[in-house]
């Protein structure tokens, strides 16, 4: 076999190719590396959701506390008016006078709190 014959013979053949599994093996190995960023997104999403829940929960509790305090003071006010009206005779006139007296007392209390010297005393 001459050199030319040998070169022609080489052209009739090729080196055996890779097994089919090599392609999937490479793609599988590459996939976990690409998904490394996924937990970061999960963490960020979880954090955002937690913050929203926290804000929502705090707002809800604040509203309940506010409503509860407001209801309590209104009940106290009604009781004061009722007891004052009873002292004044229990009539409608007595009720109006009692309401005015309680409002005046509230105004005084509010005015006193607004004045620094009142808070010091």
């Amino acid at each position: 076999m001459t050199g030319d014959d040998l070169e022609q013979a080489l052209k009739r053949y090729r080196v055996a190719g890779p097994p089919a599994r090599l392609r999937s093996r490479i793609l599988e190995s590459a996939t976990p590396k690409r998904e490394r960023s996924l937990p970061v997104w999960i963490a960020v999403s979880s954090l955002a959701a937690s913050i929203l829940l926290l804000i929502g929960g705090a707002s809800s509790v604040y509203g309940k506390v506010g409503r509860s305090a407001s209801d309590e003071s209104e009940r106290t006010r009604r009781e004061q008016i009722a007891s004052t009206a009873a002292v004044l005779g229990g009539s409608s006139l007595g009720l109006e006078e009692a309401t005015a007296a309680v409002q005046a007392a509230e105004s005084d209390a509010t005015g006193a709190l607004a004045r620094p010297e009142a808070r010091i005393q």
Partner: protein, 167 residues
Amino acid sequence: MPRDRSPGPAPEDLGQVYDRLGPELYRYARVILGDAKEAEDVVHDVFIAALQTTETLPQVVDGYLFRSVRNACWALLKRRHREEDRGGDGDLLEAAEGSEDVINERLQVQAALRSLPVAQREVVYLRSFEGRSFREIAELAGDSINLVTSRYRHALDNMQRFLQGLK
């Protein structure tokens, strides 16, 4: 400035790159190493390493992957402390498309190819099987064109002698 490392191309892109270059890289590695399993591991490792060090694998020049495979193969041979073809890992050659498989001839050419030193086997593969020019082979191997041409001629002489010895 440190280079930002993205997670690499999408799997479909990687699949396209593999379809374009993977089989040729595998054949190249198999010719150098003479071992199908080791060739598979080398190509796998080169692809995964390339993913970790490049932002856009599809834009990586083919030469980068070929040089990586070549370097990995030679490093492996160095660890082995021997260059010879391991043989016994199945048929190294198969009939090219449109060619008749003359089994006796194929086995003889295969044996002659396996008898060559790795550097000669490499240049025969790149020149005769892949149709690369001597300039391309010289660039890939980091040798001069004259050296690569001379190596190819020596390889053909050695193969001829081997084949004559079979008769």
